[in-house]
């Protein structure tokens, strides 16, 4: 809403979480950018639809909306798979993507599971054209073996086809404009070689289709005097993808398109900011053998009003008011996703107060919301930031935010066939929503101590109770868990750079524990899918005047997927069974970046070569998902 004040706040609350623009690492999509920090954890069977969880506050069973686009929430993700790559937005549009790793009440919208801000870079004052192209693949394709060996199993290799993005922007008088187009092509068969258990789950011809995203976006802004501005944003993201369906241990190959139109006006009317959004998605799932296809349309229309009053530069009072209509529509006889239409109208009103004072800042916000004739929910957050010295500060947040259940969680339905080829048998698994599902509440607090200096670091402790989180059980209804999970983590992260004999080093680490509320240590079903510990290390150094190298280490502890456990008695293929555990893993990546200068009409031409998983260790993030091994990706970026 008011971007200036919001920006001031964000610089304080989220600086440790910015993936820096000049990082010399892998960046294909927004999720790659976010993965530079240990706060963002990703769940994906295919690596193509990376569902993001900020610090374990969300999970795959019940993805929560955490993405902010142009100052307002973005909600229409296909099948609730909240992936930052499934937004009408491309990485080329941004410099930084701040994250708020805690439940937060923004000036427009509530984010009970943290917030990722897709913030556009300022539009250039002169005509500028930027572009980048890239492609690559994992090694190990059985290209020759397909002809020379008999009975070869399907292979699991991933390839990024020719992908890239382009952007043109400029300014005419008080008007600025930007046009963006991007395409991402990804090919993955997506299951492990020789894994006959996995082969029983899938329909190979369906899942060998390529995944892709095509993004187009247009922005127009007008800037007047005294902070007055109007901006319009329109974008589209069309996709085909296969991924695990939420709640169910089954897969779907789906396609569709996501679109948005967003308008915002700052201070055209004194003391009032206005935001209007209209988001839509069309999703369809193709038929597999023995499984019905399905489709649905989703739209979210919202208006956000923000009367605000500033007292000098130190105090700001605002009254967020929003009205949002969420609608699902399906064709008659639809058998997948939804079997009926759904319409929800939500009112929300809030009160925010922000105060800045010497050496600190204070924020208090409350929010009340009501959907239709349902119950009224209250949320609140309190945040204080105090400078403890010239080079350090401490920030404390307590909050309690509610998240009403979505239509998909209450009325969704999925049925997928599992074809057991060796037995010539087809099993149909069905998962249904729970109409009586209640809202979940996330309550807790965190404290972060930050030091600034030659080496900048932050230490944070964090504890939130997620009430009535949703569990998924195959072949059963979605149900809630009570009393909920306590997410606790401690984190140390150092994002600044230090020089050791010419070696530029950055170190990041995340250490966390997750326990149930009664404090009996277990791997809870919800959060066992996220690693308890993560470690990330990155070093970069200059190899020559225009040549830079980087090395990155990333380690994660094991994860547990109880739905995928198979007893030996039920394992008709190998008899060995599986406990649903994925072992810990670590990977070593490296990159070489060569600045090529100006070549013909291309300025700032830069070539980057990424060698991922250099030691060729097999890595899997999902029990029946793809494996990763050594991969090579090349990039070219340029400015015209």
């Amino acid at each position: 809403m008011n971007s200036r004040n919001l920006a001031i706040l964000l610089t304080i609350v989220s600086w440790p979480l910015k993936a820096q623009h000049d990082d010399r690492g892998l960046e294909q999509r927004v999720s790659d950018h976010l993965a530079r920090t240990s706060f963002a954890q990703f769940l994906s069977a295919t690596r193509y639809v990376p569902v993001v969880s900020v610090r374990g506050l969300g999970n795959w069973s019940a993805p929560a909306n955490i993405v902010e686009l142009k100052g307002m929430p973005f909600e229409t993700f296909p099948l609730n798979l909240v992936s930052p790559d499934y937004v009408p937005f491309d990485l080329i549009q941004t410099d930084t993507i701040p994250m708020d790793p805690r439940p937060s009440l923004a000036e427009a919208g509530s984010y009970p599971s943290g917030r990722i801000v897709l913030r556009s870079r300022p539009i250039s004052d002169s005509l500028e054209i930027r572009g980048r192209v890239y492609g690559g693949s994992e090694t190990g394709d059985v290209i020759l073996d397909e002809y020379t060996r008999d009975n070869l199993p399907f292979y699991n290799r991933n390839k990024i086809g020719f992908s890239g993005s382009g952007m043109v922007e400029g300014r005419t008088g008080t008007f600025g404009y930007r046009l963006t187009a991007a395409g991402f092509n990804y090919f993955s068969v997506g299951y492990e070689d020789r894994d006959r258990i996995v082969l029983s789950y899938i329909d190979a011809p369906t899942f060998s289709r390529p995944n892709r995203n095509y993004v187009g976006a247009a922005e127009l802004e007008w800037k007047g005097s005294r902070g007055r501005s109007v901006s319009a944003y329109a974008g589209m993201n069309t996709f085909t993808a296969w991924e695990q369906i939420p709640f169910a241990s089954t897969f779907g190959f789906f396609s569709g398109s996501i679109g948005t139109i967003r308008l915002s006006a700052q201070d055209l009317i004194p003391f009032l900011s206005i935001g209007v959004r209209r988001d839509g998605a069309f999703v369809s799932m193709r038929s597999q053998k023995g499984t019905a296809g399905g489709e649905y349309d989703e739209s979210v229309t919202g208006i956000h009003l923000l009367p605000h009053f500033n007292s000098g530069t130190s105090i700001r009072i605002s009254l967020p008011l929003e009205y949002v209509v969420r609608e699902i529509s399906v064709p008659a006889g639809n058998a997948q996703f939804f079997t009926r239409n759904d319409l929800r109208k939500t009112w929300a009103v809030g009160l925010r107060g922000e105060a800045g004072f010497a050496g600190g800042q204070f924020l208090a916000a409350v929010r009340a919301e009501r959907t239709g004739n349902g119950p009224e929910y209250f949320s609140a957050t309190l945040r204080a930031l105090v400078g403890t010295s010239d080079h350090s500060q401490i920030e404390v947040t307590v909050s309690s935010l509610v998240r009403p259940p979505s239509a998909l969680e209450q009325h969704g339905t999925f049925s997928v066939a599992r074809i057991r080829q060796p037995l010539a048998q087809t099993d149909t698994f069905r998962v249904s929503g729970n109409p009586g599902l209640l809202a979940s509440r996330t309550t807790g607090g965190d404290a972060t101590f930050t030091t600034f200096g030659d080496v900048r670091g932050a230490f944070s402790v964090f504890a939130y109770m997620i009430g009535k989180e949703i569990r998924r059980w195959p072949t059963m209804s979605i149900r809630s868990a009570d009393p909920g999970d306590l997410v606790f983590s401690a984190m140390y992260e150092n994002h600044d750079r230090a020089w050791y004999g010419g070696l530029e080093v950055r170190l990041g680490a995340d250490i966390g524990d997750r326990m149930v509320a009664e404090l009996g240590y277990v791997w809870t079903r919800n959060h066992a899918q996220l690693p308890r510990h993560q470690l990330r290390f990155t070093g970069t150094w200059k190899l020559a005047g225009r040549t830079t190298g980087s090395v990155s280490f990333h380690g994660m502890t094991r994860t547990h997927w109880p739905e995928f456990a198979v007893s030996s008695a039920n394992d008709e293929f190998t008899g060995a069974g599986s406990d649903g555990m994925l072992p810990e893993y670590w990977t070593l990546d490296c990159a070489v970046i060569q600045d090529l200068g100006t070549v013909w009409f291309l300025a700032d031409l830069q070539a980057r070569l990424e060698l991922q998983n250099l030691l060729n260790r097999e890595v899997r993030m999902f029990p029946i998902g793809v494996t990763r091994d050594f991969a090579v990706i090349g990039y070219l970026t340029m400015i015209l």
């Binding site: 693949s137 090694t139 190990g140 394709d141 059985v142 290209i143 020759l144 073996d145 397909e146 002809y147 020379t148 060996r149 011809p205 060998s208 020559a544 005047g545 225009r546 040549t547 060569q594 600045d595 090529l596 200068g597 070549v599 700032d604 070539a607 070569l609 050594f630 090579v632 090349g634």
Partner: protein, 170 residues
């Protein structure tokens, strides 16, 4: 941008004929073949140059019991990397290089299978090269090339080895 600007006017083109020897499983089922290569290099920081290369070579099917189910292949090697050259101004010079190579296998004929089992596939390899350059002062500089590239393909990696003779168009 920092550091010395690349002098693109120093870019050099080389053309060479090669004889390509497939190794391991590749060599078991496919024959050796002639190759034509084109490479360009440009100094970035003496004695280091950036180098890019392209080589095309056809390989017929070897006489094995599986001959009928194997299609002939055209191998296209596209590489990029660094080259370290010594005695660049002397009549006789040597160079050593390393390149990351993308290998495209183009199968053709009735045994090639389109669709999911692609008739055109690619895979990466790492090539180690050795060069000897002779400048007679009369002819364009002549260059002999040794090339060994493990290709990270398949259940068991294969390789190609090649020798070649070419000229540099400086």
């Amino acid at each position: 941008m920092s550091g010395q600007e690349i002098d693109w006017s120093s870019l050099t083109i080389s053309v060479a004929g090669q004889w390509i020897f497939p190794q391991k499983g590749f060599g078991t089922y496919w024959n050796n073949g002639p190759g034509l290569s084109l490479s360009v290099d440009v100094p970035v920081n003496t004695p280091v140059s950036l180098v890019a290369s392209a080589t095309v070579s056809p390989h017929s099917v070897a006489e094995t019991p599986k001959r009928q189910q194997i299609p002939p292949v055209v191998l296209v090697q596209l590489g990029g990397g660094f080259l370290v050259a010594t005695n660049q101004t002397a009549p006789l010079g040597a160079g050593f290089g390393i390149q990351l190579v993308n290998n495209t296998f183009i199968f053709s004929g009735p045994a090639a299978r389109p669709g999911f089992e692609n008739a055109v596939e690619s895979e990466f390899g790492i090539a180690f090269t050795g060069l000897v350059t002779w400048k007679s002062g009369i002819l364009p500089p002549l260059q002999t090339i040794l090339w060994y590239q493990p290709i990270l393909v398949g259940l068991e990696p294969v390789a190609v080895f090649s020798i070649g003779l070419g000229i540099r168009l400086e």
